[in-house]
């Protein structure tokens, strides 16, 4: 019966959430915003690139002056440029519309800025002046070097692979940190997106005066587990919706978005780190969700409970203030404190696990602590809900609940 009821609770909670318009409005807002941003970037980049490309054929007619002497006149002519006899007159011609643009190259282009003057043709199209001026200088510099490879090397276009060792074995470096740090990302996303829902989901029974009906029909542990599971499912749905536009952007507009071509085969996955990361995630999730359920059972209204949510959020983000110490000196006192204090432990330990500075002993202690305390807090949350949520209009004292449950 308990398992049947768990399935019923999960089904009810998931279905009713997914049927709500407000859920989809807020959930779809994120991908819509991401989509708009991607579209704007792609549009802007496409416009600039097309202008540069079209410049080769239609050419931008411009004048230029070159105090550096690096600009090759033949290349400049091919780009559509004409050497300006008088810079002031060239600027005046741009102002009057007699000339489309004027580029002023300084004596030392690496130390001073090159100034471009042009007729305003809109936010996106104005980028063509800088692009053409840059391309002209790059092409002239390449021509002076006279060697394609040398030019590439001068521009830093070459790859360096680093192989580092730790305890005699190859260490992953930053590529080894990416995979275990994904657990930290998931933890943040889950807590930020679902925390408030968890806090208010048990309040709903209280605010709707449905607690007595529930407590005589359903084991409170089943109800709370059902709510946690359903929130996790809803969180997965939200994450998929959020990830979709990012995936589309990466797969189809990577060049326009100037995104790096990540070679996943280069990532180093250490099974030990992954197991520790997963356990820290589950333990941390249990502790925080249990805490939020307990707070929901104590507080009479969502408004009062939201104060607790603020404190929990602060505890999640506080370790980030010491992130530089976590990276540079993981044995510093404050880092040790954050590693073992239960509510800052998940974030700090997951960060250190990703960076490879969490020892097996420390991992064991933190995981045991999180699971133990998470279990205690969840049990407490169930007790608070069972003996506290029937107090519909007032905040419940822990002493009262314990007194009732001990008898």
């Amino acid at each position: 019966m308990a398992r049947h009821n768990l399935g019923t609770v999960v089904s009810f909670e998931v279905t009713r959430t997914l049927k709500k318009k407000q859920f989809w409005l807020t959930t779809l807002l994120v991908p819509v915003v991401i989509g708009i941003v991607i579209a704007l970037i792609v549009l802007s980049n496409t416009s600039t690139e097309s202008k540069v490309d079209s410049q080769k054929d239609a050419t931008l007619r411009f004048t230029y002056s070159d105090a550096s002497g690096y600009i090759d006149p033949a290349i400049a002519t091919a780009f559509g440029g004409t050497l300006a006899a008088d810079p002031d007159q060239a600027i005046a011609d741009v102002k009057s519309g007699a000339s489309a643009a004027y580029f002023s190259y300084p004596a030392e282009p690496t130390k001073e800025a090159t100034t471009v003057y042009g007729a305003d043709v809109g936010i996106f199209d104005n980028g063509k002046y800088s692009s053409v001026a840059t391309q002209l200088m790059v092409a002239s510099a390449q021509a002076k070097i006279g060697d394609q490879t040398l030019t590439g090397l001068a521009r830093g276009s070459f790859q360096v692979d680093a192989i580092t060792y730790k305890d005699g074995a190859v260490s992953g470096g930053i590529l080894g940190a990416v995979a275990p740090l994904l657990f930290l990302l998931i933890f943040y996303v889950v807590i930020v997106m679902l925390g408030n829902q968890m806090l208010t989901s048990t309040l709903e029974e209280k605010e709707n005066r449905v607690t007595e009906m529930i407590l005589t029909t359903l084991n409170p542990t089943t109800l709370i587990m059902g709510k946690i599971i359903s929130l996790f499912i809803i969180g997965i749905v939200q994450m998929l919706v959020f990830i979709l536009p990012v995936l589309v952007g990466y797969l189809f507009f990577r060049t326009s978005l100037s995104l790096p071509d990540v070679d996943l085969s280069q990532l180093i996955v250490n099974p030990g780190q992954m197991v520790v990361g997963a356990l820290l995630l589950i333990g941390g999730f249990t502790l925080f969700m249990g805490t939020l359920v307990a707070a929901g059972a104590i507080m009479p209204t969502a408004k009062e409970a939201s104060q607790v949510f603020g404190i929990v959020m602060a505890l999640v983000f506080v370790p980030l203030y010491a992130v530089s110490l976590v990276v540079s000196d993981p044995h510093a006192l404050i880092v040790q404190l954050f590693t073992f204090f239960p509510y800052s432990a998940p974030v700090t330990a997951m960060l250190r696990n990703g960076l490879g500075s969490l020892s097996p002993l420390e991992s064991g202690i933190v995981i045991a602590e999180l699971f133990l305390l998470g279990g205690i807090v969840l049990r407490l949350a169930v007790q608070l809900f069972r003996y506290g949520s029937v107090e519909y209009t007032k905040r419940v004292s822990l002493r009262t609940v314990f007194a009732r449950s001990r008898r």
């Binding site: 005066r209 449905v210 007595e212 005589t216 519909y392 009732r404 008898r407």
Partner: protein, 347 residues
Amino acid sequence: MASSLLSSLDKPDQQAVPRKDSRSETEPLVHISNFRMDFGRTTVIRDLSFDINRGETFGFLGSNGSGKTTTIRALLGIYQPTAGLLHINGKPFSPEDGATLGYLPEERGLYKKESVIDVMTYFGRLKGLSRSNAHSWSLQYLERVALADKAKVRLDKLSGGQQQKVQLGVTIMNDPELLILDEPTKGFDPVNRKLLMDIIEDQKRAGATVLMVTHQMEEVERLCDRIVLLKNGEAEAYGTVEDVQDQYGGTVVRVRYSGEIPDSPHYTVTRRESSYAELTVTGPIDEAVILRELMDAGVTVREFTAGRPSLDDIFVAVYGDQNTGDQNPGDQNAGATAGERNGTAGE
């Protein structure tokens, strides 16, 4: 016809839960003995004992704040008793036994943002019905209580009375062995009150044991086989309605009259209106003696009947000295109707 609605539906999920435990058919369904309940330093129930037999309708009476709701919550495991035994079917209640229980709490409420049919189906599933049975039973019930067109409407769009009908449906949809109704008619108009009483009587005829908390004494007289009166945390009176009536003062004379009713050592005037009075007879005096006394005093008697005191009279006699507005810590929400609390419109 709620029970017939139920019996017409196949409920395979519930077949494992027998309606009655044949091993203990003669034992009371509810057994409460030496129950004590303290909230901090406040003692709400001192020492309460009573049984409810299978198939009977039992009235649990008391003034506001006397501890009725606290007792029910302790019986259902929502509160842990300070001392004493509170058993249903020979053991403390647990939510796993929920399929045999129908509980309409004093604090009414369901998931207000959800549709009527979704909520009813959900609770039906929790009480062991299959989804299709819970759904079809709910539709038939809504038809009966004239809410068929509200099946897909959100609960918070219904009036307080309509919400109560839905909650009653949720209470009885599992064909409960024990039906606990805490002030079931609160918030109902007379028409819907009659409908509610009909449904309760259907349940009773189908064999359900009913524990009813109410302040409507005419309902108690009409429906209840036995009652207990709770006062100062103890049973002030306990037995059949007739037993309790006998216990409280024997004969009451009801008179319609004109004139001035005189004082007499043979009776006490317990109610006096302009042309109606109730006289509680003191001592073994024949009613004819009282009629003679009235006529001798010049009172014109138009109607003269003698009988047992009403439960209303007994209630006033028992609790008349108490401020019935007091509430105990367990009944901290008593008093407000569902509509008042939830801001919903009345019917």
